[in-house]
């Protein structure tokens, strides 16, 4: 009795099944090709050649061949899965070798701080706006109740622009020394309720040194509406500090002086390094100064056409660069503005 092609295969499959059970990855791939390869696989060829058989044989052989195919496939994938999960050593792969990296860019640490601060204030209903960096004395000083005749103006080492009206005329052109001009610009354009944060560059006539830069980032905030009080001001800043730093960070409000706020406050937060016990960063005080703030001075409302009797508000300003330096332990502000790849690369993981 002539052996059918099928019988030969059945024997072969049985052998193959035994081999599959012990095969490594390489052998497994070879066996898959030998039996199920798309062009020359032994079962593939048989199934493709079914038309050579008599119609009555065809059905039986076909069914049997398909069954063998399924059995083989099941065995192959079972072994394959076993090899993967058992972690059976693959002889040629050293899994400790490094992966194929790609360049990952980093958002600047100051940008990250700005975005985060603005996001926290968004929870308190503040929208985010920007304003011009070149300004007039009027917006930078006089509308903010900073008289050019008063020593308070000396604290702003101002860069003036060439051309334009003379210095001290109120209309001279300059580079803004703080983001506060946007308080005036916003109050002139919009009616309360006003709640804004304004990130942006400000300029001071200081040469670069470890703690000074002629241009650096500030964030201004302003809230004006009916019934905004000192109590709410304190709460909003406290909310910000606890969200931005940690929920257990202590906040301290100290009286201070800014011509455009009254009462004015310096806001200190518990030193993030020593947690308040005193270290060199906080000069042993346990606190770090992070912002100047206060209730909007009625003179500022008057200068901007807002009813100072009816409305009250609070304003604050903080240095984003300084906060980034504190947060990341950056010892020298110049690192922020030099675009040194070795520095920026440290932030590629985010935060």
């Amino acid at each position: 009795m002539p052996t059918s092609p099928l019988d030969e295969l059945v024997a072969g499959v049985a052998e193959a099944m035994e081999e599959i059970a012990a095969a490594d990855e390489t052998r497994l791939a070879e066996l898959r090709t030998e039996w199920l390869g798309r062009k020359a696989g032994r079962l593939t060829r048989l199934l493709r050649g079914l038309t050579d058989f008599a119609p009555d044989e065809r059905r039986g052989i076909g069914a049997r061949a398909n069954q063998l195919k399924r059995e083989l496939e099941t065995a192959l994938s079972a072994r394959d899965a076993a090899l993967r999960t058992s972690g059976a050593p693959a002889p040629d792969v050293d899994w400790t070798m490094p992966g194929r990296e790609w360049w990952r860019g980093a958002v600047h640490p100051v940008t990250a701080v700005i975005d985060e601060i603005c996001d926290v204030f968004r929870e308190l209903g503040f929208t985010r706006v920007t304003g011009p960096e070149a300004e007039t004395e009027e917006y930078n000083f006089t509308k903010l109740n900073i008289s050019l005749n008063h020593p308070a103006a000396d604290e702003h080492d101002t860069f003036y622009l060439q051309g334009g009206p003379p210095m001290g005329s109120g209309r001279a052109l300059l580079l803004r020394t703080h983001t506060s001009p946007m308080q005036a610009r916003t109050m002139e354009r919009f009616t309360p309720p006003i709640r804004i944060v304004v990130p942006g560059l400000v300029y001071r006539r200081d040469a670069f040194d470890p703690s000074h830069a002629p241009a650096f980032e500030q964030i201004e905030g302003l809230a004006v509406d009916d019934g905004v009080t000192f109590v709410e001001f304190k709460a909003a800043i406290d909310f910000f500090v606890k969200r931005f730093f940690t929920a257990d960070t202590a906040v301290r409000f100290r009286p201070s002086f800014f011509p455009f706020t009254e009462p004015s406050a310096e806001v200190d937060v518990q030193c993030q390094l020593c947690r308040g016990s005193g270290c060199t960063t906080c000069k042993q005080t346990g606190f770090l100064e992070i912002m100047g703030a206060g209730m909007v001075h009625p003179a500022v409302f008057e200068h901007c056409g807002i009813d100072a009797e009816r409305y009250t508000g609070y304003a604050f300003g903080m240095g984003a660069a300084r906060i980034a330096m504190l947060r990341h332990g950056i010892p020298d502000i110049r690192l922020l503005y030099q675009a040194d790849m070795r520095f920026l690369d440290q932030f590629r993981g985010g935060r």
């Binding site: 007039t136 005749n149 334009g164 509406d225 000192f230 030099q338 920026l344």
Partner: protein, 783 residues
């Protein structure tokens, strides 16, 4: 400003703890920047009683002293002429460390062993006196620690005083603040040896005389009040130890008793005084007038100062002798020979002083205080105390009372305060009683009137001018900590978000995802362009203009990175550029994004034997295109001779990309840069299209392009002539070979019809049509 804890304590009549004072002052608005315990370097010294003195056998000027240090008697060689038996002196035993760090050991001096040393004031850092050792008139027994026996122990506090509080520039002002917090009245400390009485001062309207000098005010705006007293018969010399100690305690240098006395008053009462040598006032006159244009005065610092009419001058019959409120002149300076002095105590207008010292480019202790505002009402009391102090330390008499030229005496200022307004601003309703109590403790006089409070402002508080200033005083003294934290419901802001900020965030995500680091560079740079905005007062010529473009800064940053041997640099910046359209107007500001890449396109990997390709211009074109798509609402990318630009639909070029010029070391790669204006207009939302339901057919079309023909033009023709069935086409290969007589560019064309399954013949027919069109138009043939 430096204050002495001991001085404050003397005014408040109690011992103060430095840490407590620092905390209280910080919470009152005058933070303490530093606390320094003085004379810690004198810890090793003890009181030594000299029991016996004998001449040194081998030196005329030296003596052998037997010093009782409380436990033993030691032999000490001393060179001071004033040493005598029975007196007590500061004694530094063997092993002690003196100020300056010198450690004493037993030492043989001309054959006699000296066990330690008796010290002069200078050796102890207590003054300039080195003529002899410091004789101590005290009860403390020998062996007592020097710093415990002598009231030197003091603590210096370095205060930060805000520009609105001139009153805190003197000890009395600081003591008032502390006194308000502690509930203690302020009393000036007694001056040892001061006369208890003196003649009263005499007020006159515009002129009057004292000590034979006629004093008159012509510049009533610049100097509303001028007082002068004459003290005769003084002896200029060193100050007593207590006065020197006070000045040293706050870091001031003792000079002589007259100058030290005026400085003491300055630091105690915040009133600058000026002492003239009476004999050197010419013509028996003091005239307070405006300077004349072109007038010149040599000031105490030896500088010849050119004067102008904004300045108030103190003049005698022959001319200016001092710049009022700023600095004295050399002509009338007090010298060692001076016996009679005229003591000036004046109030100068803050704005005029400010203008004067700005014009003279100088600032003195006096101008600093006058510019912020001194207390005109305190002047008689101040001058009385100053005269008493001079008489106590330099001798002399005051034959007649001071003259007080005060043309229009100021009326006390007052403000109405509504208690309801206090609650309106602070958010806590305070009782009228509490408000009164707080204000009164700070020196305000308060009287209820209707439902308001009539508040009289103390003369030393020029900063208080309106109701809200009083509200701050109330909050400050009550303590900011005493107000609760209460978040209250808020209404949404009427101010919309700046859409540009959202756009910037998305571009940052794109570019950091593409491997670029965000840079932030100074906008101050050197730009040679007529439309550049220049600074009037730049720090240097290299920072003289505002940037008109971001790329130069980034290229310079690449060069800096190269200097640090970093070859692979990928940076971008989002920032403002400035363009001056008119010289007398503010520059136009635009927000831009720019980027540079140079070096390896990907990090090296071992699988490629460490080799990676460098970024090339085709990376740049794609990066530029991608950024432009994010940054701009509309427009299209266009090739130029050197690179690419972005053409907005209104026709303006608003961005470019090219290979940058850079100072490139041989090992570095090309710098590829792009810059584009950010368009803040809102982009319409993407409208999705249905996914295809029919299969596509692809055809490749390789064409031989003659030299000058651009692929872009060919592709336009392909699209046009192919018609609606062409879904997309793209270049997938370029081949250059001499045998071609040009180059071969291969496109893949993808055909699809949304409505039906295309047949092969449909696609072939379109390709044939395209080929015919290309041949006709450009004489381009298939390869």
């Amino acid at each position: 400003m430096n204050v002495s804890l001991g001085w404050l304590g003397a005014m408040l009549g109690q011992e103060l703890d430095a840490a407590d004072v620092a905390r209280r002052l910080a919470m009152l608005g005058a933070p303490v920047e530093g606390i320094e315990e003085l004379h810690r370097d004198l810890d090793d010294l003890v009181i030594g009683l000299v029991e016996r003195v004998e001449p040194h056998p081998n030196a005329d000027r030296l003596s052998r002293c037997w010093v009782n240090d409380g436990t033993d008697v030691r032999e000490v060689v001393c060179g001071a002429p004033n040493v005598r038996a029975g007196a007590k002196y500061p004694y530094a035993p063997v092993g002690a460390t003196l100020p300056g760090g010198i450690k004493l050991s037993a030492r043989k001096i001309r054959g006699v062993v000296s066990h330690g040393m008796l010290c002069s004031p200078r050796e102890l850092g207590l003054g300039a006196d080195h003529e002899g050792i410091l004789e101590l008139v005290i009860d403390a027994p020998p062996g007592t620690r020097f710093v415990d026996a002598v009231p030197l122990g003091d603590t210096r506090l370095e205060l930060e005083i805000t520009a609105n509080r001139p009153d805190l520039l003197g000890h009395r002002g600081v003591a008032r603040e502390l006194g308000a917090a502690l509930g203690q009245p302020v009393k000036l400390p007694a001056i040892p040896g001061a006369p208890t009485d003196g003649p009263a001062s005499r007020r006159v309207d515009t002129r009057g005389s004292v000590g034979g000098i006629e004093v008159s005010i012509e510049d009533r705006e610049g100097c509303p009040r001028y007082m002068a007293a004459v003290v005769r018969g003084i002896t200029v010399g060193p100050s007593p130890a207590w006065l020197e100690a006070r000045l040293l305690g706050i870091g001031a240098r003792p000079i002589n008793n007259v100058v030290d006395a005026t400085n003491y008053i300055l630091f105690e009462l915040n009133q600058p005084l000026h002492a003239f040598d009476l004999a050197r006032i010419r013509g028996g006159k003091i005239i307070v007038r405006r300077a004349e244009a072109g007038e010149v005065l040599e000031t105490l610092d030896g500088e010849a100062r050119r004067l102008s009419p904004i300045m108030t001058m103190i003049c005698d019959a022959q001319g200016a002798t001092a710049v009022g409120g700023v600095m004295g002149g050399a002509i009338s300076e007090v010298s060692d020979a001076t016996t009679d002095v005229l003591l000036e105590c004046a109030y100068f207008d803050p704005k005029r002083i400010r203008a004067t010292r700005q014009a003279l480019r100088m600032s003195t202790d006096a101008s600093y205080r006058f510019e912020r505002g001194t207390d005109p009402d305190a002047m008689p009391e101040v001058l009385r105390r100053a005269v008493a102090l001079i008489r106590a330390v330099a001798g002399g008499t005051e034959p007649e009372g001071a003259i007080d030229v005060y043309p229009s005496p100021a009326r006390p200022r007052s403000i109405f305060l509504r208690p309801s307004r206090v609650g309106h601003v602070l958010g806590v309703d305070l009782s009228s009683d509490e408000i009164q109590r707080l204000l009164v403790s700070l020196g305000f006089a308060v009287a209820p009137k209707d439902d308001r409070l009539h508040v009289q402002i103390p003369s030393w508080r020029p900063d208080v001018t309106r109701e809200v200033d009083l509200i701050e005083e109330i909050a400050r003294l009550r303590g900011y900590d005493s107000f609760p934290l209460e978040l209250r419901p808020f209404r949404s802001s009427s101010v919309p978000d700046d859409p540009g900020e959202v756009r910037k965030r998305r571009i940052r995500e794109l570019l950091t995802g593409a491997g670029l680091h965000e840079a932030r560079l100074s906008p101050l740079t050197r730009v040679d362009h007529e439309a550049a905005a220049s600074l009037a007062n730049p720090l240097s010529a290299d920072e003289g203009q505002l940037r008109m473009s971001l790329l130069p800064g980034l290229v310079a940053a690449v060069e800096r990175n190269w200097s640090a041997r970093v070859r692979d640099v990928r940076l971008f910046e989002i920032g403002t550029v400035f363009h001056r359209e008119r010289r007398d107007a503010l520059p136009t500001e635009r927000q831009r994004v720019a980027g540079v890449v140079t070096g390896a396109r990907t990090p090296a990997h071992w699988s490629a034997a460490g080799k990676t390709d460098d970024f090339d211009r085709w990376d740049l074109r794609a990066l530029f295109g991608a950024v432009a798509e994010f940054a701009r609402v509309d427009g299209s990318l266009r090739a130029t001779q050197r690179g690419w630009e972005w053409l907005a639909s209104h026709g303006d070029v608003c961005g470019e990309a090219r290979v940058m010029d850079a100072d490139r070391p041989a090992w570095a790669a090309d710098v590829l840069g792009f810059e584009i204006d950010l368009d803040i207009a809102e982009r319409p939302y993407v409208q999705s299209v249905a996914l295809p339901t029919t299969p596509a057919i692809e055809r490749d079309l390789a064409l031989v392009l003659p030299g000058a023909l651009s692929a872009e033009r060919v592709e336009e023709t392909i699209r046009e002539s192919a018609g609606a069935l062409l879904e997309r086409c793209y270049i997938f290969d370029e081949y250059r070979g001499k045998e071609l007589g040009g180059r071969s560019v291969a496109w893949r064309l993808v055909f699809r019809s949304p409505g039906r399954t295309l047949r092969e013949e449909d696609a072939d027919a379109v390709v044939d049509r395209v080929v015919v069109e290309l041949k006709e138009r450009f004489d381009v043939v298939r390869r």
